[in-house]
Symmetry: C2
Subunit: 227 residues, 2 copies
């Protein structure tokens, strides 16, 4: 039995078994498109391994990277559960392995199984929360602080090294800055001794110190001031 993330873990054993029976596994190479904006959500995808960039394009506007999904995340639960078209396009930022569950089966299972339904709603809430955090970050933190925050977000607990498989452009887009600015921010942090950069690996000797620089200064910017 393989781990399938917090979502299916919440389903009753029978429901989970029924769903797993209809599940297919898929592997996507870096750069592959996993789901396409405005397309009906015919299946629920659960990311087991890798990293998926979720981006939106407005009509005739350039696309923007809105979120980066990591292992364990369910892609587009909202769309699958409510039977709506995908709001985003998903691209593999690193080689990915995913579970695909037919959306209909998932909707039926969720309607039957209160635990599963609740877990699905918790996932939705968690994703909304991440968006909210992103808004807060964009409004209150400068580029360096956002970069620091990103590393902390990625740093596994009880560990001082992160691996960043995604290309720098993607990270920069997610953080709302240019690759140049991200590079400067990272190297700036390294210069103060808070970081050590080794290619796509980053070493964080003092987590607490890094956390400290990621906090918005108390004399915060007007743009974020309490009303």
């Amino acid at each position: 039995m393989i781990a399938t993330g917090p979502l299916l873990a919440a389903a009753s054993p029978e429901a989970r078994a029924a769903l797993m029976a209809q599940t297919t596994m898929l592997a996507v190479p870096r750069g592959g498109i996993i789901l396409r904006q405005d397309t009906p959500a015919d299946r629920l995808l659960i990311l087991l391994q890798g990293s998926v960039g979720l981006s939106t394009a407005e009509q005739e506007g350039a696309a923007t990277l809105v979120e980066i999904a990591a292992a364990g995340d369910a892609l587009s639960i909202v769309a699958a559960l409510l039977n709506m078209p995908h709001a985003v396009t998903g691209t593999a930022l690193a080689p990915c392995r995913l579970l695909a569950i037919p959306a209909i089966a998932f909707r039926l299972a969720a309607a039957e199984d209160a635990g599963l339904m609740r877990a699905a709603m918790e996932q939705m809430a968690r994703q909304a929360r991440l968006l909210m955090d992103q808004v807060v970050n964009l409004k209150t933190r400068d580029a360096t602080q956002r970069a620091a925050r990103f590393l902390l977000h990625r740093l596994p607990a009880q560990c001082s090294t992160v691996d960043i498989p995604e290309p720098r452009v993607a990270i920069a887009a997610w953080l709302g800055m240019t690759p140049e600015s991200l590079s400067r921010a990272l190297h700036g942090l390294e210069a103060t001794g808070l970081l050590r950069l080794k290619g796509r690996r980053v070493d964080v000797p003092d987590r607490a110190a890094l956390h400290r620089v990621s906090l918005p200064r108390p004399g915060a910017s007007q743009a974020a001031r309490r009303v």
Copy 2:
């Protein structure tokens, strides 16, 4: 029978009647606090009239205005439905009238009534969508474009005048800029003839033209570039 927003409209007649029986109405003056972050969500609030600013404070950080709720919106459905503490603090930016429904009653009703449950999830999805739009706006549009977008967002269909009851600081904070920048953006638009400012009323002679300036230029910024 008064209008109670899209959420209750989706409930079955019996469920709605049962909920309405437990509902209390409240009025809050400008500046009043409607819900407090990290406080248990003991009731679901539905905004009938007025405007509520939702802001988050991180520990020891300044607060940020994350969203502005308008008439018809349900405040903190997530918290009420999942029985979690509020993620935001709500302040009346204009005098408000609200319905308050005990969270327990709402959870029970939603568990019984599939239509209500679905409507609640749709509301959650809508709010997540708004947050996503905000992220996109912050990443791809400059101050003037965001201001233009805000006005369009507020402009009732088939009408060329908006009333903006909220103080300018709140709007500016929501748009992620300073009040000074908002003022300059608005007056800049007025100078090009796209707008007429009359105190807290704004006249938009040509909606389409305003929409046009709110679009990110095709040669979009690197920070938003497709990956």
